[in-house]
Amino acid sequence: MIDNVSWVVAYPEILLLVMACVIALVDLGVTSPLRSLTHWLTLLTLAAVALLTGVYASSGAVNLGFGGMVISDPMGNWLKCFAAIAMMVTLVYGRAYAGARDMLRGGEMFTLSLFALLGMFVMISGHNLLVIYLGLELLTLSSYALVALRRDDGRATEAAMKYFVLGALASGFLLYGMSLVYGATGTLDLGQVVRAIAGGEEALAGSPRVLMLGLVFLMAGLAFKLGVVPFHMWVPDVYHGAPTAITLIIAGAPKLAAFAIVIRLLVQGLLPLVVDWQQMLAVLAVASLLIGNLAAIAQTNIKRMLAFSTIAQMGFMLLGLIAGVAGGEGANMANAYGSVMFYVVSYVLTTLGTFGVILLLSRNGFESEQISDLAGLNQRSPLYAGVMAICMFSLAGIPPLVGFYAKLSVLQALLASPEPVYIGLAVFAVVMSLIGAFYYLRLVKVMYFDAPTQTAAIEAGTDVRTVLSLNGALVLVLGIVPGGLMALCAQAISALII
């Protein structure tokens, strides 16, 4: 029995699905080399979806649909809204790059992007283990195909294979974990899972040991998807191997969805096991901060460097998840998870700007991949160098840029409970971000202090120029007035059903 609310809840997904099919069909008749019609239709769709989810989100309503299988709440809707916008920006940045590399012979990039986004939406709104899994598979299957889109390029194909094999393994982990949780609790519904576990041993269908095993597998799967150590090996290879436009599709919006499923599974589903998963997260976070930051220093390829930097950033983000519950007290939860959401949103915003500049420099059959390719960018174009510098300082966590407040709010959540372990973690994170500052600064150094090695003019369409400037400005403006986005994240999290 599907009630009216269910349909309303699913409108954004339905719209996305219908338009993805329509665009696939319309594209058959498109002949222009850059697929203008398809491109603009896709952007229009994404704008409509972003608007719709934005309206949902600002209404603040929380609704369950389809018998409790999907949920529409402010957190989910804001994340969907941001994901749709991030996908729009990604496509604006990536179209010329893709067009120059024979990736726009068909309209697959657009359709697959829409399906990937649909997968993210389903992940974000899933309130049932299987729904979340289905969303995740839709996202990853679309991503594999996207990475392989440049089919006559050996490196991209290799990256696609690696991504597929490791991704399938991770999905296996996750699914196995879900099945164990199902076995232990007898239900797939997150609300019932949490009640069953909270009810103690007699409320469980299976043994607690099975449940714990399930948790371990779930964590491994999630860690894979987030790309944190020790499940990070695919990240640099795929970032490096995939065409840069596709790298951005993987590096941008999906981080929002990954954050959503972490909240859904761990907080909304397995909160009674918080002590156990916080310990695991702590290990993952420390290892990611350490290995991500140290390995990033050694990279000469900018995409690999950014891949390791992502690993480190995700590690930092996990610290916020650890801070939610301290000493059995959950008073800090809304604060901590709100901080994490702010962290992820600002991270995605900054990543978009960074890759936007790299994509811009990679035109004319030339891959701008080495850090040295950025040499003297300030002399070639102060605007783009400025955007890149703003993004780098933001990732390094220097005020007054948005990345600073992201780090500040996570550290604040961590230090809200004066446990010595948390203070230790905070100091460790801070020392690691010092190491991080080194490689971000090196990029600034290359752009500003080195002499240019190329003189080719940087060509950019008006759309790219505008969006990129806005993107850079937003990183700065949100750094000067971060209050609004912070409050938005905090409200979204406090409206969660836990």
Binding site: I398, F404, L411, Q412, L415, P418, V431, L434, F449, M486
Partner: protein
């Protein structure tokens, strides 16, 4: 918009305009706009001085608005007797630096001028912040323009210097960030400095916090043994960068001790005063000796900065009116004198492109006007009575003698080293026979350099002859600070 907001945002506004619109094709327009911006920024700080109410320790010209509601962070500005002169000094030095870079900088002029103007606004923000997070944001944000200034317009080894500057100071500040957040949770969710001044704190917590703040401020001051970044950076930085660094950025650290360490952690400050005093004495004596053997003029002045800042921290941690006031006076005096010293070296460097003392000799023969200024500044640097350098050092030494005779004696002996390295450098560079063909070809300073030197000379002499306007302003605030420090916060 309040006066302090104007003082902060006027230079930043002009800086951003220059960055956005300036091109090297119309460099002269860029220079004039920068000068107008800097002068305007200086003018808006004048009412701060004329309208300042003497004899009260209360915070004046306060502005308060909610900035980040979620963390209870306020855009809260105010000045008292401790910070007032530092704000004026910053605006003044910015004007000097803009004029000093007039013809010297020919590439990316808009970015150079823009960076200095923005930096000026940010530093004023540091001195005017009454909210710890606002303070931190300004404090850290100053790193970005300075990093670019050193890296773009610096000397041959500029990249090493830029990184060393950034990372060294960042490490300290990050530990301070942890301390700030800890205090935020301890105070029940407030970044307000006045609230923190009243916050009771246990002994262990105070000690840990003290060292976290110490990490940030001692690196910035810089105190021995974390001073090693300063000589490297000064040598490579462009003249204007060195001047701002020595004149103002070092003061950010010393100011931090006064605004954070002393009032928030009075017990730890008293407990660890011996450490600070020891390190200060080492800076004064040992670093003074190190300065003597330098072959590079900029390095020599950099080490002498470390020694002079040793007097500042020494004055703060003897906990007497005279000592703290002396420290603050020394900060301001050093602002004028060190800026003058570095700009003087810049004058020579622009002509000869060498900073080695050995490459000069007998400059007085070809540049008599300039040598006269240089003599004045050298005398101020070694603390001759009648110059700015004398007042602060004298006050600190008096306070130190009262505190403990031997400490006073050691501090006083440093004056001899100061005189030795300053005068010896002067002798080798300016006096004697004309050293070589480069020196023979030197032309004396022009109108622009004359203007820079004269402005600084006026301030150096004025402060030396009539220091009352400087000390009057700070009396009440310093007394209040010391009353506060005397009360234990342990419960």
């Amino acid at each position: 918009m309040g006066l302090l907001s104007l003082a902060i945002w006027t230079p930043i506004f002009f800086g951003v305009v220059l960055l956005a619109l300036g091109r090297d094709e119309h460099a002269s327009a860029v220079r004039w706009i920068a000068l107008v911006g800097a002068v305007l920024s200086l003018l808006v700080t004048v009412p701060l001085y004329t309208g300042f109410e003497l004899g009260t320790a209360s915070m004046q010209f306060a502005e308060k608005a909610v900035w980040i509601e979620r963390f209870n962070i306020h855009y809260h500005l105010a000045v008292d007797g401790i910070s007032l002169w530092l704000v004026l000094l910053t605006a003044f030095i910015t004007v000097i630096v803009v004029i000093a870079g007039w013809e010297v900088i020919t590439e990316r002029v808009n970015q150079y001028m823009g960076a200095f103007l923005i930096l000026s606004g940010l530093m004023i923000g540091v001195f005017a912040s009454m909210d710890a997070m606002l303070f931190y944001v300004f404090f850290e944000a100053t790193l970005i323009p300075m990093y670019l200034i050193i890296g773009i317009w610096g000397g041959p080894n500029k990249i090493y210097a830029a990184f060393k500057f950034f990372l060294y100071t960042l490490l300290g500040s990050l530990l301070m960030l942890v301390a700030l957040i800890y205090l935020y949770s301890q105070s029940g969710g407030s970044f307000d400095l006045a609230t923190w001044h009243r916050l009771p704190l246990g002994g262990t917590a105070q000690t840990l916090l003290f060292f976290a703040f110490f990490a940030a401020f001692a690196v910035k001051v810089p105190m021995w043994p974390v001073h090693t970044w300063l000589p490297d950076v000064h040598v490579e930085a462009p003249t204007g960068g060195s001047a701002v660094l020595a004149a103002i950025m070092l003061k950010l650290g010393a100011y931090g001790f006064l605004r954070f360490s002393l009032p928030i952690l009075p017990d730890a400050s008293r407990e660890w005063a011996w450490l600070i005093i020891t390190l200060s004495l080492v800076a004064v004596i040992y670093v003074g000796l190190v300065a003597m053997v330098q072959k590079d003029m900029k390095k020599l002045v950099a080490y002498s900065s470390v020694a002079h800042m040793g007097f500042v921290t020494l004055g703060f941690f003897v906990f007497s009116d005279l000592g703290v006031s002396g420290g603050i006076v020394q900060m301001i005096a050093h602002g004028f004198v060190s800026a003058a010293m570095f700009l003087g070296i810049g004058v020579l460097y622009d002509r000869v492109h060498s900073r080695n003392i050995a490459d000069y000799g007998g400059v007085v023969n070809t540049m008599p006007k300039f040598a006269a200024f240089a003599l004045l500044f050298t005398m101020a640097n070694c603390g001759l009575p009648g110059t700015a350098g004398f007042v602060g050092e004298w006050m600190v030494i008096l306070a130190a003698v009262k505190f403990n005779f031997w400490i006073g004696l050691l501090a006083a002996s440093a004056l001899i080293f100061g005189a030795a390295y300053s005068l010896w450098m002067f002798k080798r560079v300016y006096l004697g026979e004309t050293g070589n063909d480069h020196v023979k070809a030197l032309s004396d300073i022009g109108a622009r350099e004359m203007l820079v030197m004269s402005l600084l000379a006026i301030m150096v002499l004025y402060m030396g002859i009539h220091p009352k306007p400087f000390t009057d302003v700070m009396d009440a605030s310093v007394a209040e600070l010391l009353r506060h420090v005397a009360v234990s916060k342990l419960n």
